[in-house]
């Protein structure tokens, strides 16, 4: 059960960003955020201690090199 509510979003806006959200926006934003929160929570189990975002650039290069090494990269 995801408890991310419009009231919580309003509090974040007020506390972190120093502005008030219109009442009618709160539930819309909460509804947009909930599935992202669920997916992020589930995937976060795959994050390991030594990982960092810049590994991604190495991954791209490695996958391109791997393709060339087996002759896929024409």
């Amino acid at each position: 059960m995801n408890h991310l509510s419009g009231e919580f979003v309003a509090a974040l806006a007020r506390t972190w960003h120093r502005f008030e959200l219109p009442e009618q926006d709160l539930e819309t934003l909460a509804a947009m955020l909930r599935p992202m929160d669920e997916a992020g929570e589930e995937l976060s189990a795959n994050v390991a201690f030594d990982m960092e975002p810049s590994d991604y650039l190495l991954g791209l290069e490695a996958m391109a090199d791997a393709a060339r090494d087996v002759g896929h990269d024409k």
Partner: protein, 481 residues
């Protein structure tokens, strides 16, 4: 040559100008006339620079007359999404907030195109701040689809798709963060390439998302788009995130054929919500490639649903960082859809955002090792539907907006999270006369292979030669050349 000016592809017109069969001035005057004639119908341009383009065209003609060496795009009129900065000129980014913004630098993409001799006739319409796949814009007016002006041109590079399809220009650059080159390409029936993350410099390109922004070409043929990409690809010291890997020639790869290549057809996700007419056209295109010697292979791909969600979370977090000051001080200067799609990034935990980027390495390795284990490229629809009515997608921030956005971008956005290269190639029309296209997805930096396959398909098909009725029919107010 008069009819030939409109009919010619980018490569053909460049060759004709270089051979002095037609002058750059004639070609440019023709492009400007079409742009002016079609503007009331398509609203493809935000700004035009007819005088500057003609002056540059005269310079090209003089160089050619003197026998001076000229570039591969010499004298070819182009126009670009109005978010590529040019020093000293206004770049609106399709927004009210930047309506008068004068750039202090010139983007590397524009610099390299001009070094190759290309001409610039104006800034093209786009979704505000490059947010939104519909091509709607509350500040500059919606861009309209040349195949049916009541339809969306796709977004966010709406003007790039419309101006190229309407044969106003021979090609255009757009940006693609989740499908913004590929979606207008499919909706307008032209070719669009989203390069590998880091293949093309983003220096001087309005930022939306540091992690996912790419710049790519739209053109009528694969070979045309390949030439445009070749001109701009490669490392740029001004963009430290650009790859130092040498760029293979995409244009040289055109003509190699597909014999021996393996084309993977994903068995899940990409075809789930595809309209029957789109699915039939994709199947026919697959059959064409098989008849040319390609091997068609069914492949399993990892789940995309979670990828889509963490892409959206990370993109919004980055966009909200860029826009936070204006969201606080000028919220009413954003269109409703754009503000909503950016502002939810303000409420993502920093840890969640960094996790989304941290996981990217493992996910792209897993994807490549799984999806490309038995094939060279993947073939999918570019979009599951053809161009929707503008009245159906001009929905602001209504409740059904997120679902509409996801539907239109469901085949493109996961590829942006992965950072893989992709090309959209026209492969048919539906019963309403609207274009359909397939998307080829490759391993990192495999743009030449994508162009090889796409070009081979265009040698066996004529979809890209069709002209929108309002361009083909001079009676609708469009000059012949």
């Amino acid at each position: 040559m008069k009819d030939g000016i409109v009919d010619a592809s980018l490569c053909e017109i460049a060759d004709s100008i270089a051979a002095r069969e037609v002058s750059a001035v004639e070609v440019t005057e023709s492009a400007i006339r079409r742009a002016q004639a079609l503007q009331p119908t398509l609203n493809a341009f935000i700004s035009m620079d007819a005088d500057g383009a003609l002056e540059a065209a005269r310079s090209v003609d003089q160089d050619i007359a003197k026998g001076a060496p000229v570039g591969r795009l010499a004298g070819v009129p182009l126009a670009h999404k109005d978010m590529f900065y040019r020093s000293g000129r206004i770049t609106t980014c399709g927004s009210k907030i930047r309506r008068d913004f004068v750039a202090d630098r010139t983007s590397t993409v524009l610099t390299r195109l001009e070094q190759a001799g290309a001409l610039y006739i104006g800034g093209l319409n786009m979704s505000e701040f490059a947010v939104g796949p519909f091509g709607t814009n509350v500040h500059f007016g919606n861009c309209h689809n040349p195949w049916d002006p009541a339809r969306s041109a796709g977004g966010s590079s709406s003007g790039s798709g419309a101006a190229t399809a309407a044969r106003i220009v021979y090609g255009a650059f757009g940006s693609d963060t989740g499908g913004s080159v590929r979606i207008p390409a499919v909706m307008c029936g032209v070719v669009g390439i989203k390069p590998t993350q880091g293949r093309v410099s983003r220096y001087g390109l309005m930022p939306l998302s540091y992690s996912f922004d790419t710049a790519g070409p739209l053109a009528r043929t694969v070979r045309d788009a390949a030439r445009l990409l070749d001109v701009v690809a490669g490392h740029d010291a001004l963009d430290p995130t650009s790859s130092t890997r040498p760029a293979g020639s995409c244009e040289a790869a055109c003509g190699a054929g597909v014999a021996g290549l393996r084309i993977g057809i994903p068995q899940s996700y990409f075809y789930d919500e595809t309209a029957p007419e789109v699915a039939a056209a994709i199947t026919a295109a697959t059959d064409t490639l098989e008849s040319a010697g390609a091997t068609i292979v069914p492949v399993e791909v990892p789940s995309h649903d979670q990828i889509n969600l963490i892409w959206a979370a990370a993109l919004a977090a980055e966009a909200a960082t860029i826009h936070r000051k204006w969201l606080r001080e000028r919220p009413d200067d954003y269109g409703a859809l754009v503000r909503r799609r950016i502002e939810f990034g303000l409420y993502q935990p920093a840890t969640r955002y960094i996790e989304a980027l941290t996981l990217r390495d493992g996910i792209v390795r897993d994807y490549c090792n799984t999806a490309f284990a038995d094939c060279d490229v993947l073939l999918t629809p570019t979009a599951p539907i053809t161009a929707p009515n503008l009245s159906d997608v001009d929905v602001g921030d209504s409740e059904n907006m997120p679902a509409l956005v996801l539907l239109l971008s469901r085949c493109t956005r996961p590829i942006s999270y992965l950072g893989l290269p992709a090309i959209s190639v026209p492969c048919g029309f539906d019963s309403a006369g609207l274009p359909i296209a397939f998307q080829l997805i490759g391993r990192p930096f495999a743009e030449p292979t994508l162009c090889q396959v796409g070009h081979a398909y265009q040698q066996l098909s004529t979809w890209h030669e069709r002209m929108p009725p309002l361009v083909a029919n001079p009676g609708q107010g469009v000059p012949e050349s």
